[in-house]
């Protein structure tokens, strides 16, 4: 399966490098570039937090409710904590939960989708029914229910979010498999005596990768929003004073509105939006670029 992944990356790079020849960059390529840059910068920010954050985000480092200044670039909160440092540190939890939860969904949804689509029959029917019923719940509602059921630790929230996105991967992969298995090159593989295992691993899976990559990126965006939603509703995984964007947002938005302390709610909200935008742009860009290329191939 590794070779398949390599192939698709190669194909992507090829697609990107090929279009660089004698042509202005298109909208989709801007999407990918901007989205990718945003994701990269935010990740770097969270990763390098100990080095770039000016203050400890959990202790008082100034007066309460200071508007942005050179000292406190994004102002301070009620407890005199530096908002800029809280923003830098506060990305860690949503980013990790978004990524890890999506990887889990991927790891469960993709194999199930492959098997279900390829073998069909009752196995497929039952699995599709289960997945569809999960899918039909609004994501946040399901997450709330699971979080309430499991209790809201980081691990539990990750699990809850992972469960929500399994059907997304499952449905996309299954749909792809249904059409790919009718392709002539799959028939050709049967005719040279390939085993079913080989057919799934080398012929079907690699051809689903472009769709998976797109879903992956869009699911992370969605997962981050769901995490934010949970935190906002007070079901988040974070125990104060640990910084978390969504937690800060829900904690201060009332004050921001009533007292005009806009910076308290603006910055957390802005960064949640920026991250989601980054992943969405990246996913949309991939979608535009990979799908026509596949059609051409």
């Amino acid at each position: 399966m590794n070779s398949g992944k390599k192939l698709s990356l190669h194909g992507m790079l090829q697609a990107i490098s090929r279009v660089k020849i004698r042509r202005p960059i298109t909208e989709e390529e801007w999407f990918i570039t901007i989205g990718g840059s945003i994701i990269f910068l935010i990740f770097m920010m969270a990763l390098l937090a100990p080095f770039i954050s000016p203050y400890d985000p959990t202790i008082k480092t100034g007066a309460s409710y200071q508007p942005p200044s050179w000292e406190h670039l994004m102002g301070t909160d009620k407890f005199g904590r530096d908002m800029f440092s809280r923003i830098i540190w506060g990305g860690r939890i949503p980013l990790v939960i978004g990524l890890v939860a999506t990887i889990f969904s991927f790891a469960i949804g993709v194999p199930l989708g492959l098997l279900s689509g390829y073998f069909g029959g009752n196995f497929d029917r039952i699995l599709s029914l289960v997945m569809d019923s999960i899918y039909s719940f609004p994501g946040l509602v399901l997450a709330i229910a699971l979080a309430a059921l499991l209790g809201s630790s980081v691990v539990n929230i990750t699990v809850a979010i992972a469960v929500i996105y399994v059907p997304t991967f499952f449905r996309v992969v299954r749909g792809q498999v249904l059409s790919i298995k009718e392709e002539l090159y799959v028939t050709a593989a049967i005719s040279i005596g390939a085993k079913r295992r080989t057919i799934i691993a080398r012929y079907i899976f690699p051809n689903t990768i472009p769709s998976i990559a797109i879903v992956f990126s869009l699911s992370i965006a969605d997962a981050i929003l769901t995490e934010a939603g949970l935190s906002f509703l007070g079901l988040g995984p974070v125990v104060p004073p640990v910084p978390d964007w969504a937690y800060d947002l829900q904690k201060w938005y009332g004050l921001a509105v009533s007292q005009g302390y806009w910076w308290l709610a603006f910055w957390p909200g802005f960064f949640i939006m920026l991250t989601v935008l980054g992943y969405s742009l990246f996913g949309e860009g991939l979608n535009e670029i990979l799908n026509p290329m596949l059609r051409e191939v």
Partner: protein, 337 residues
């Protein structure tokens, strides 16, 4: 006596159930079938090129798919080198696939877009675990040379979309030949290629046939190509063989009106001045008429044709025609050349 037949097909049938709407299923109408291949028999001798000719929907490709067991026969028997392969399954079938192979019509769809050319051709060797890593690579390179893709090292690392249709079809041929099969089904391998490239591919296939001692079932709608390569021809119409015989017999003295119509509608300058024009189009193969399947379109039809399906009339040891009106046709079309 040694068996000179590589493939024997006896009373082969393939019916596909017709997809029905939900409403029809509720009303539980009886299941209808497309009679794709309906009771055909023929055999292919070792070393010959056997052409199956007909229009789209006549069942010629289905026949090819059935013989290499990509489809499950509904009825009848397929014997390959003396072994009944009609219903073999699983590992047994998978191992036997080495011996009979198929080249598909569409070279744009038959190669995995995510595999390099070298991997595509090597893959059959991997699957059947033939040779060491090094040997496999060598084999692939020499195969690339054999099918005329020079320099082979360069093609090894390319992807299918970087190749033209003709080159892709060469890759498809190479993929099939690395397994050293005895028998090949060629399902219209040139019909999607440019005319100037077609002959290259056909000539290559004939060349490889001599070098590797192959036997071909060549499926085509193009009588021109068939006339250049085949030893024997079978003409199919609506799932049935209507005429079968040696090349000279079917081309020179065709006796089924459908064969004559096909032969004389080939565009370009005519072999004989006149044409046998027939009306209409191939009907669907769901409601098969009782009598002759060609009745509705036949210019030579008689009353009996509507009631009785014609059986094969033997014109020579090798030439058989399924028609009630051979005498009349003989008078009108003594010879085509």
């Amino acid at each position: 006596m040694m068996n000179t037949k590589i493939v024997e097909v006896e009373n082969l049938r393939k019916l596909f159930p017709v997809q029905k709407s939900f409403l029809d299923r509720l009303l539980s109408k009886k299941i209808e079938y497309v009679h794709a291949v309906d009771d055909i028999s023929f055999n292919i001798k070792i070393g010959e090129v056997f052409c199956l000719v007909g229009e789209s929907g006549c069942g010629k490709s289905t026949t090819g798919y059935l013989i290499v067991r990509l489809l499950e026969p509904t009825d009848g028997k397929i014997i390959f080198r003396g072994i009944d392969i009609t219903h073999i399954k699983g590992e047994e079938l998978r191992k036997l696939r080495k011996e009979f192979q198929i080249i598909f019509q569409d070279p744009y769809a038959s190669l995995n877009p995510r595999m390099k050319i070298g991997d595509i051709i090597r893959h059959p060797l991997d699957i059947h675990m033939i040779g060491t890593r090094e040997e496999r690579r060598e084999k692939v390179l020499s195969m690339l040379k054999d099918v005329g893709l020079y320099p082979p090292e360069q093609f090894y690392d390319k992807y299918p979309h970087q190749l033209s249709g003709g080159q892709r079809q060469r890759v498809a041929i190479a993929r099939v030949l690395v397994l050293q099969p005895k028998f090949l089904v060629a399902d219209e391998p040139t019909s999607m290629l440019d005319v100037s490239v077609q002959a290259n591919i056909v000539n290559l296939m004939m060349d490889l046939k001599r070098r590797f001692n192959l036997t071909y079932l060549y499926i085509t709608h193009d009588f021109g190509i068939a006339s250049k390569i085949c030893d024997r021809i079978a003409v199919m119409y609506l799932g049935k063989i209507v005429e079968i015989g040696k090349r000279e017999e079917v081309l020179g003295e065709p006796r089924h009106p459908y064969t004559i119509a096909l032969l004389t509608s080939i565009p370009g300058r005519k072999i004989a001045g006149k044409k046998l024009k027939i009306r209409g189009e191939v009907p669907n193969a769901i409601n098969i008429p009782i009598g002759c399947r060609f009745y509705a379109r036949c210019p030579y039809k008689k009353d009996i044709c509507q009631e009785l399906e014609p059986k094969f009339t033997k014109l020579s040891e090798t030439h058989y025609v399924a028609c009630h009106n051979i005498e009349m046709i003989k008078k009108d079309w003594p010879t085509l050349f």
